[in-house]
Amino acid sequence: MANNLAFAALADPTRREVFERLAAGPSAVGDLARGLPVSRPAVSQHLKVLKEAGLVTDRPDGARRVYQIDPQGLGQIRAWLDRFWDTALEAFKAEVERNDDEEPKAP
């Protein structure tokens, strides 16, 4: 159940982007919104969903709230593995298709 919720939370590309940005370090809503092509309320909504899914936590910092991926580090491990598999699978794809091109075929 919790896993399904977490998966649904990351299915949205913008929400995923918000999550990946938090993987780089804690941020407030305003800072996150600045680098994204969506409104600040939209970012808040994404954070709410991520929080409900247990993927991020928040804490007050003066007048604002700072969001971060979980303090135990699982989110960071996940973010690292995600990039790692991108690299490995890109190499796999290249290998499959490189040999494919050895047969005569216009580039």
Partner: protein
């Protein structure tokens, strides 16, 4: 005190210009040919990487010092449609036979000689929490960034 996290499985879907038979073959028998040489366990450089072709087979790296370093084993061997590997490297990249995370790869024929690959790495919550892990990953991040850059350059060349 700390919030518990249930990280979502890592999922990747992409299409290859090859048959499922060829994709499965390259992924497994050709594993050492595409696995990035920069991704390995321990201090001795990687010279090869192997997925043994059967359920229960080992999944490991071959190193310059002659030692084979185990990463996990084959849970499901069902060519050409599906391969499931146990990834038993913990968050500090040490082999832990008690740890089970699953790498599930499905190859499905689509269109004209193409294959859709559905990749999933799940069970990530079993990594548990580890400050050392976070430090390790932090140190390695720069390395992976460089690798990714070199792939991008090669792809765009």
């Amino acid at each position: 005190m700390n919030a518990t996290i249930q990280p979502a499985a890592i999922r990747k879907t992409f299409t290859l210009r090859a048959t499922p038979e060829r994709a499965f073959q390259v992924f497994t028998a050709g594993f050492g040919g595409w696995w990035p040489r920069t991704h390995y366990v321990g201090d001795s450089p990687l010279t090869g990487a192997v997925i043994e072709p059967r359920a229960g087979g080992r999944w490991y790296g071959e190193h310059e010092d002659g030692v084979e370093r185990l990463w996990g084993d084959v849970l499901t061997w069902d060519p050409p449609g599906r391969l499931v590997l146990a990834w038993r490297l913990n968050a500090e990249f040490a082999y832990d036979p008690a740890l089970l995370t699953e790498v599930d790869v499905r190859f499905t024929a689509v269109g004209d000689g193409e294959t859709r690959v559905d990749f999933e790495h799940r069970g990530l919550e079993r990594f548990g929490d580890s400050e050392a892990a976070v430090r390790t990953l932090g140190m390695m991040d720069g390395g992976w960034g460089l690798i990714l850059d070199s792939f991008t350059s090669a792809a765009n060349a």
